[in-house]
Symmetry: C2
DNA sequence: TTTGTTTTTCGATATTTTCCGATATATACT
DNA sequence: AGTATATATCGGAAAATATCGAAAAACAAA
């Protein structure tokens, strides 16, 4: 197997995962920092960090550092491959994804420091949302 | 997680695999029967069968029975989702895939019975090709 | 029904992936 | 320097997936 094929398979694996797919689709609506993603999707911060590592490796997202925060976004449209475009088109139709985006807007309306510090303390699954 | 998201993830998993991706891309060039695929890609016939099961489950390919043979092809273009289109566009640029297609043409030029019976006896990996 | 041929399923093992708490690293502020 | 905060990495057990020979099933022809 040549590298080309291996790379494409790795890229597909990167999005063959509920959390990673949700993160990628979420970012289509605009950049977010790690803790905003964790809060939006209600998953541990370490899981988001690992999901982002894969998405970065696969070339689907890029990051931008601002102070202690890392803001992540989908690669610019110019650089988007046919696969990424098709994938985002398809993911965007899903109810889950649309709901995630609604929730992201709510999280964005909160002060980022509040969101992040809450996420850091939160005991993972089934934890209460910031707004609650 | 709702069904929609789960289904899309399953579809992505189906193609996140070298053999399954090669099979799908190979079929874009036209339908083939199971043993022709096995011979073209030089893998055990049972592996091809299992790969096709996944691709069928994911809705990427359909089958047509003709006598004892099962011919498989990519779903009609009309039914192709954005994801499938993008994926095939991207896969088609890979050298491996193009080479597979060349080899498929050679296999198609042989009598199908010869190909199938050879495949059946062949002891899997590193076996000699029919043409040899 | 018996035989031969193609495809699917099974079995068993090996490998990979997932998951998340705990810990480490990095950066900012005093 | 020390403290606080955000993110990354680690550990390692559980779950999922891959692999392919062998056996079963589906089907045609005799």
């Amino acid at each position: 197997m040549t590298d080309d094929l291996r790379v494409l398979v790795e890229r597909l694996k990167a999005v063959s995962h509920p959390l990673r797919l949700r993160v990628l689709a979420l970012l289509e609506a605009g950049e977010l920092c790690v803790c905003q993603i964790a809060e939006t999707l209600e998953v541990p911060q370490s899981s988001v960090s690992e999901a982002l590592k894969e998405l970065r490796r696969a070339g689907f997202v890029v990051e931008r550092k601002e102070g202690r925060w890392v803001f992540v976004s989908v690669v610019p449209k110019k650089q988007a491959t046919p696969l990424l475009k098709g994938l985002l088109a398809e993911a965007g139709t899903l109810l889950d994804i649309q709901q995630d985006r609604v929730r992201a807007r709510e999280v964005k309306d909160l002060a980022i420091q509040v969101v992040c510090s809450k996420v850091q303390k939160a005991p993972s699954a089934n934890r209460e949302a910031v707004r609650a």
